[in-house]
Subunit: 218 residues, 2 copies
């Protein structure tokens, strides 16, 4: 195992890239149940090489998810200085839903892998950070109710994604419609206040899925 940050040997680096690309394509076409054998073959490497780069299939999936989340966060940052703050935030939500419809298999995985993986955790925090700023601006503009937090909005978004991946590919209009409902729930002024306090990132990270359950238990 090479020290943490030393750059990979040129061919190794290339293999890693190829594996990520192949995995992305295969998962997109065949779903997450696609075998690692196909991915390795498509990347032109042996199965062993796959597991050298990604100790587990889950890690391979996680690596792709992280890439996507980072892209989303980047896009969100470009919206930070838009004139219409509320439109910017909803545009961000739109984008994220669209992204997940491209290859829904990947985002299905987030539910499983979720925050068990450190890199996903970091990327996730990054997305929440951007959304938090977009939301704050929209609230300051008076178009979005003041008693919601970024995690609230992300929960709603996850709901839209879920519904979208369930059956909205038939008709993208359904996604638009569902987003309209989310917009309505976030509109200011709020008719009745929300109970409880806005969940924090810490709340989310505390609610981890059951521990990895390593087969080592006696």
């Amino acid at each position: 195992m090479p020290p943490e940050d030393r750059p990979l040997r040129a061919d190794a680096e290339r293999n890693r890239r190829r594996l990520l690309e192949a995995a992305q394509a295969v998962f997109c076409e065949r779903g997450l149940d696609a075998g690692v054998a196909e991915i390795a073959q498509r990347a032109g490497v042996g199965r062993g090489t796959l597991f050298r780069n990604f100790p587990t299939k889950q890690d391979l999936i996680a690596a792709i998810v992280v890439e996507r989340m980072r892209e989303a966060a980047d896009h969100g940052r470009t919206l930070l200085d838009a004139s219409d703050a509320a439109a910017a935030m909803f545009g961000f939500l739109d984008e994220m839903v669209g992204r997940q419809q491209l290859d829904r298999a990947l985002f299905d995985a987030v539910a499983d892998t979720w925050l068990a993986n450190d890199e996903i955790r970091a990327a996730h925090a990054e997305v929440i950070g951007v959304l938090d700023e977009l939301l704050r601006r929209a609230q300051e503009s008076g178009d979005v109710r003041a008693d919601v937090g970024a995690v609230d909005v992300l929960m709603l978004l996850k709901g839209v994604c879920e519904a979208a991946s369930a059956f909205a590919q038939v008709d993208p209009a359904m996604v638009t419609r569902h987003l309209d409902l989310v917009r309505a729930s976030l509109a200011a002024p709020a008719a009745t206040p929300l109970r409880g306090r806005p969940p924090t990132l810490a709340d989310v990270e505390r609610g981890l899925p059951k521990p990895p359950a390593t087969r080592a238990a006696s």
Copy 2:
């Protein structure tokens, strides 16, 4: 294979019951990844018997999900003559979220199995039918916006369930809060109308997951 409706032999019927109970318990404790071996053992039968009753592990899961959906529909019907129609509908939504939190593994499965299975399809239609009536009454009472349909509401509900199973077991207040947001999105009068038309049951059933992909393809 016995003719469709002939009652099973007494011991066979008992084995079927035991399998369902064992499966429910095991899935609840260990999640859907639990092995069929453990289920068969817990039920006190051989693995072959399991597959005689449920041709595939998915079918076993589906059978449990169908049971739960039927229970939910039954409960919904008891709410049909409540005095406060809106409260009745939201009570129904509450119940369904609570149910899915009991053993979330099962409802996670609905996303996979979803409408691929005929029995699930029927039970699903039943739930939508009840929800449709609850909704209609709530709309007539003037407390719920008129431009949403039962499928819209079910989509929102699925979002809540998703969010709940992701991290709400830490604090049930989060679910309450999310339901408050759903309530806000459904409140009458609607500030801005929804785009598109309410999705129908047919729309949902058209949006099936990729075909079973039987390994028979040449």
